[in-house]
């Protein structure tokens, strides 16, 4: 029976990649461990090794093909004695790609594990805000599509060109080009003095970064993920956030702590949690969590220039997503300003970072039901732009918050409290929160899905507050 080789996943969040090159030709003998092809993502180029032995019977996806979905059959291997005639017996999956094969067990293991359900389907192609004029972009500006990964890299590179006191340190930021490839090319441009690989020593290098900031430098400290920053949280809070106050305004700490935050995919509880609420609790910190590539770039540039410690929460699942970024020499988005990502009159949805995916998708669904949601992207969690939320709620009279973080003492809870205190008379219904479930993140695909909020949760919450 011929064996299909499927497009492998190279990371927990990879959904598609390019088939860069076939190393083996049709008719070549293949044995286990042979490199048969190269595939590339925006992060890296990787070799695909054969697991089964036989002859490369047919190449289903020619080299140079872009955006091949994970699990798409890319070639067929014939066992000894089989000939090309056996190919007809192989399932013809090539044309109808992803949805069908997503259910199949992966016969070719490769480096990647068989990946049943990837990221929740609603998030596979995260919706973009409607074509509202970007508040921070002059009319008529040319827009270029970029991934968030590229936008973050460009932001750092631009700020490092602009200010010699800016440097980046963290694990694998230099020679490896970033664990998530956010620092790609920075070492080559700026050298080892300013792009510094640290040992695996979060507590220590966070403290070293804060000390350097106290001396007037402007460090960007990358945490491979914010989960690991818990080892460093004392330096972030007790040293970075409080020293300006405790020194009576003498010692400033201009530093950015950045890295992926929140649930990734299938990495379980210690690697999947949202720190938005944790850091937003702390006076003396600013907390930023962008959703679009443009905001990622403009807000990171603002964060690097900010004289205060800034927690810059990225999202691994969003890194590879593209959206338009204004082509400007110096595009900076001010911290502390929310934006209306989608206008609407019936209900206000408040979200940030990946929470925006649910909110925007839900807004589309609700529109079909005749409910027009106004979606606000907070962009900065602290200082919280509650004024923008209030202005919207005073128009719609109803509000639902959306976040992947836990419910108790979450950012949504804070918004609910402030709305109740400041604009109670305008509310026509209780404000509801859609959050991640109050459990550590499980590993199993089905349980993980259950632990995260869904678009349907948002739709139902809106129906509840609009009584429809």
């Amino acid at each position: 029976m011929p064996v299909e080789i499927l497009m492998p996943a190279l990371s927990p969040t990879m959904e598609k990649g390019n088939l860069a090159k076939w190393i083996k030709k049709e008719g070549d003998a293949v044995k286990s461990g042979d490199v048969i092809a190269e595939i590339e993502t925006d992060k890296a180029t990787m070799e695909v090794e054969a697991v089964d032995e036989g002859t490369l019977g047919k190449i289903l996806i020619p080299e140079g093909t872009q955006d091949v979905a994970v699990n798409t059959p890319i070639a067929v291997i014939l066992a000894d004695g089989e000939d090309a005639a056996a190919l007809d017996a192989a399932p013809k999956a090539a044309e109808s790609a992803a949805p069908a094969v997503a259910q199949q067990p992966s016969p070719v293991a490769d480096a990647a594990p068989a990946a049943p359900a990837k990221v929740e389907s609603a998030l596979a192609n995260p919706p973009q805000p409607a074509a509202l004029p970007e508040p921070d972009v002059p009319a008529g500006t040319e827009m270029v599509s970029q991934t968030i990964r590229e936008a973050l890299r460009d932001a750092m590179a631009e700020e490092m060109r602009r200010d010699g006191d800016v440097f980046i340190m963290g694990e694998e930021v230099a020679e490896y080009q970033g664990a998530y490839k956010i620092t790609q090319g920075l070492l080559q441009e700026f050298g080892a003095r300013r792009v510094i690989d640290t040992p695996i020593t979060e507590h220590g290098f966070a403290g070293v970064g804060v000390g350097a900031a106290m001396a007037g430098l402007k460090p960007i400290v990358e945490f491979m993920t914010f989960n690991f920053a818990m080892q460093a949280i004392d330096q972030i809070i007790n040293s970075a956030a409080k020293t300006l106050y405790m020194s009576g305004g003498q010692i400033q700490c201009s530093i950015v702590f950045r890295g992926p935050n929140g649930a990734a995919a299938r990495v379980a509880a210690q690697h999947s949690q949202d720190y938005s609420a944790w850091y937003s609790h702390i006076p003396g910190l600013k907390v930023v969590a962008p959703y679009t590539a443009a905001d990622a770039k403009g807000l990171l540039k603002a964060a690097i220039r900010d004289p205060n410690p800034v927690i810059f929460l990225e999202n691994e699942i969003l890194y590879g997503h593209s959206s338009p970024v204004p082509k400007l020499d110096d595009f900076v988005v001010p911290l502390g300003k929310a934006k209306v990502a989608r206008p609407g009159s019936d209900v206000t949805l408040v979200a940030w970072s990946i929470g925006m995916s649910y909110a925007l998708k839900a807004a589309e669904e609700l529109s079909k039901l005749g409910i027009e949601a106004e979606v606000i992207d907070l962009r900065t969690i602290r200082p919280l732009d509650i004024a923008t939320v209030i202005a919207s709620v005073q128009k719609t009279g109803r509000c639902v918050t959306v976040e992947e973080g836990w419910p108790q003492s979450g950012v949504g809870s804070e918004i609910v409290a402030q709305l109740m205190e400041k604009t109670f008379d305008y509310l026509d219904a209780p404000v509801l929160r859609v959050t991640g479930k109050d459990v550590p993140m499980p590993y199993a695909a089905n349980l993980e899905k259950l632990a995260l909020p869904t678009v349907q949760d948002v739709v139902e919450a809106v129906r509840a507050v609009t009584y429809r």
Partner: protein, 356 residues
């Protein structure tokens, strides 16, 4: 340069410089410095004056704490004065100093105004942090003093970061990073040691071993009680120093600072010292005997040692020294008066200096 003969596994260090750093752990248990360069008359008098100023300041602070004028925690430096005075003498303008919560002596040694320090202890607007930091959190960028940190061991990473900035700027400055025998068991100390040596940062780690981490004697908390060897696995050289002898401290400080400044990386000085008072004002110090304290006071007091030499060499008379003492008492009384009469911070200060 002081001619302090150093014992060294790699041989004699000629001009008082440490030998190759390949031999980091070269101090033995009883190796407190054998011979030390003598101080000149002017140096002895200066050291006497500075150490006495710290002691009188601390005595005054203790008194004011008893009167309820100082709140919270207050950790006195009495007994350890020779460490900061000797080390400060080895620095030049632009160098940085950072320490933990037992910090009053370090601030005075850096040249900070006793009035501003005392007013911070009493939580007044004229304090170095406008009354918002208190005893453990004071800073003076002008004097190169970067705190004053209340989390045990946190200053070690921060000081390493200050040295990182010096290295980044190639400005030739050195950071003195002080911590105690208690902090020496914190993990981030070793994370910092590793990076400092890896990147050859100009930092001198000064471990003030006063024999007790709060109430826990060194041998009850530390598997390796020779703290000068704590950098061994990172190839950081270290030495034990008689921290009660200001001349020994200065000699070691010169070697260490020169080493760090010349680009060879970090250096560890373990200062064998002693605090006469409890860990903080509320500590009756039942974990040690009165005799132990008395023995240190009578046989090793850092100020008395200088005083005896001044008198013996007839560089000062009893009257001269009394006059110095009186002058210092006046200064400290004035600081205490200021700190008692200066107003508390304005209520509006509650919301300032949170963000810039």
């Amino acid at each position: 340069m002081a001619l302090a003969a150093k014992k060294s596994a790699a041989g004699t260090a000629a001009a008082g410089k440490p030998a190759a750093q390949k031999a980091p752990a070269r101090r033995s248990e009883k190796s407190a410095v054998k011979s030390i360069a003598e101080f000149s008359k002017a140096e002895e008098l200066e050291a006497y004056r500075e150490m006495l100023a710290i002691r009188r300041f601390e005595e005054k602070a203790g008194q004011m704490y008893g009167m309820g004028l100082i709140g919270g925690f207050c950790h006195l430096y009495i007994g350890q004065e020779a460490v900061v005075v000797g080390m400060q003498k080895a620095l030049k303008s632009g160098d940085q100093v950072i320490t933990g919560y037992r910090d009053h002596g370090h601030m005075l040694a850096c040249g900070m105004d006793p009035k501003g320090v005392m007013a911070e202890l009493t939580g007044r607007r004229g304090g170095y942090s406008k009354g918002k930091g208190g005893s453990m959190h004071m800073f003076s960028v002008e004097k190169g003093f970067f705190g004053g940190h209340g989390i045990v061991g946190a200053q070690v990473s921060l000081g390493t970061g200050l040295a990182f900035a010096d290295h980044y700027r190639q400005n030739g400055n050195v950071c003195l990073t002080y911590f105690g025998d208690g902090a020496a068991n914190q993990g981030q100390v070793y994370e910092s040691f590793n990076m400092a040596e890896l990147w050859k940062l100009p930092v001198v780690y000064i471990i003030e071993n006063n024999k007790y981490a709060m109430g826990t004697a060194v041998n009850r908390a530390s598997a390796q009680t020779d703290f000068s060897r704590r950098g061994t696995s990172f190839n950081i050289p270290g030495e034990q120093v008689d921290g009660m002898d200001v001349r020994a401290v200065y000699a070691a400080g010169q070697r260490a600072v020169e080493f760090a400044r010349s680009g060879k990386g970090p250096y560890i000085l373990e200062m064998l010292t002693y605090r006469y008072r409890g860990h903080s004002m509320s500590d009756p110090a039942k974990y040690r005997s009165k005799e132990e304290v008395q023995k240190m006071r009578t046989e090793h007091d850092p100020i008395e040692q200088v005083r005896a030499r001044l008198l013996e060499k007839k560089w000062a008379s009893e009257e001269d020294l009394k006059a110095i003492d009186a002058e210092i008492r006046d200064t400290m009384n004035a600081a205490a008066d200021f700190a008692s009469s200066d107003p508390e911070p304005d209520a509006s200060e509650l919301y300032t200096d949170i963000l810039r």
